[in-house]
Subunit: 237 residues, 2 copies
Amino acid sequence: MRPTCRTCAIRPSAVCRALPPEALDQINRLSHRKHLTAGRTLFAAEDGDHTVATVLAGVAKTSVTSADGRTQIVGLHFPGDFIGRPHAAGSANMVEAATDMDVCLFDKSRFEALLREHDGLSRLLMARMTEDLDAARQWMFLLGHKSAAERLASFIALCIDRLEPRCGADTEAKPASRIDLPLSRTEIGHFLGLTIETVSRVLRRLQTAGVIEIESGRGIRVVDREALAATASAATD
Amino acid sequence: MRPTCRTCAIRPSAVCRALPPEALDQINRLSHRKHLTAGRTLFAAEDGDHTVATVLAGVAKTSVTSADGRTQIVGLHFPGDFIGRPHAAGSANMVEAATDMDVCLFDKSRFEALLREHDGLSRLLMARMTEDLDAARQWMFLLGHKSAAERLASFIALCIDRLEPRCGADTEAKPASRIDLPLSRTEIGHFLGLTIETVSRVLRRLQTAGVIEIESGRGIRVVDREALAATASAATD
DNA sequence: CTTGGCGATTGATCCCGGTCAAACCGCGAG
DNA sequence: CTCGCGGTTTGACCGGGATCAATCGCCAAG
C-alpha cells in the first residue's frame, strides 16, 4: 500500500504531470517522499544542496535574512509547487517548512537528466519558473505600494486561493470559507513587510469591518469574499 | 559591415554564448537587431507577444501598474540580459526602454525550437531565470525592510555594477567612477517604492555625506564605494 | 528676447505604521 | 492547582517618509 506516483493525488497539479505514463515507474524509483515537521529546514542558504522537491502537502517558505537579522519571506510554496534550482548553483536562500508538510524529493542531477530526456517536463518547468517570477513581481508591487490593509487582504486571498479545499465540480462562489493560515503572525509580518503588531491590528480591523472572522490562533473564515478582494486591490477603507 | 552574431560584442555575456560556433550563422538568420528610443514599448502587458530579446545596449524596465495608477518597476534589464517568456503565455507585465537601447530580437517559436535543439541553451536560460528570481527576491527584501537611504545606495550600487565600463584586466578598486543613471527620478521612485521627493532628498543627503556627487541631471559619481556599500548595508549579495 | 512645460529641488506639515511597553491567552509541566 | 513560556493583542507615543505646495533650472518653441 506504499503510495506511488501512479496514485499520487497532487500529480495533476505538479510538474510530474508532464511526464508520460510510461515514465511513472521510472520517476517512482528516483523519488522518495518525506515528512517534515513545521520549522524544519528543507534547503539551507549558502548550501550546495543536491535536491529538488515537489510539495505534496503543507506549505514551505523561502526567506532572505540580512546580516543584521531582518528577515523577509520572499515566497510561499503550496501543494503542487516545485522547489529547487535545476541547472543553477545550490540555493541562495533558505527554504523551511512553514507548517507540517510532505514533500517528494529528487536527486538534482537525476532530475536534470529527466529534464534532458523529457522535453515536456523541461517546458513545463520553464513555464512554472515564469509563473514564480510573475508572482514575485506582483509581490514586489505589494511591498512597494500597498497599504497594510491591502497587504493583509492580498495575503488572505492568496491563502484561500491556494489552500481552500476545492470541490472540482462547483466553481460558483461560496457564502463563506475557512482555512488555517500557514504562517504565524510574526511570519505574516515578515512576508508582508509589516510588524507583528500591525498585522494583529489590521486583522482585527478587517474583522470589525465584517470581512473576516478570526478563530482562535490561525483559523480564519472569510465572510465577504467581495469585500476581501476589494480591500486587496483598492485604497484603504 | 552589418553586425552579425560572429562579431557581437555582448555575446559572451548573453545566453547565445551557449550555442556552438556552428550555430552562429543559423541564429544570425533568425535574429534581427532593433534600435529603441527611450520610452518605447518592447512588450505590452496583456499582449500575446511572440518575441523574445537580448539587450545589446541601454536599459529596459519591466513594470506592474494597478488599476488605480500606482506603478512599480519590478525589474531592470541590462546589456546581456535576456527578456522574454519562452514556453509561457505572452507577457504579463509591460516592458519598456528606460533609455535609448539596442536589442536583438527572436521570434518566440523559433527560439523555442532552438531551445529544443540546443540543450546547453536551455540549461543556461534556466540558470538565468533562476538568477532573475533571486534578484527579484533580493529586491523584495529591499522593498519590505530597507530604509530610503539603503534603497538609494543599493540602487546606485546595482547600476554601477551593471553599467560601469569594466576594463577586464584591473579588478582592483577605483578611486571614483561615474555613470548616468538609467532612470529618471520618478522612475527611481517607482523602482524603490519611494516618492520622487524622497529620492531627491536622500540623494542630496548622500552627496553632503560625501558618498556620491550628483552632476546635472542623471550623471552621478561615486566618491566612496566603501561608504556606498555600507549604506546599502543589509547585504545585496 | 519671452514664454511655457517638464523634471528636479526644497520646505512645511501630516499620517501610517514602527517602536516601546504592558497585558492577555492557551497550554504543558510540575 | 499554579507557574511559566511563547505567541498574540492592545495601548501610547514617535518618526520616517508621504503629501501638499512653491520654486528653480533647463530647454525648445514662439
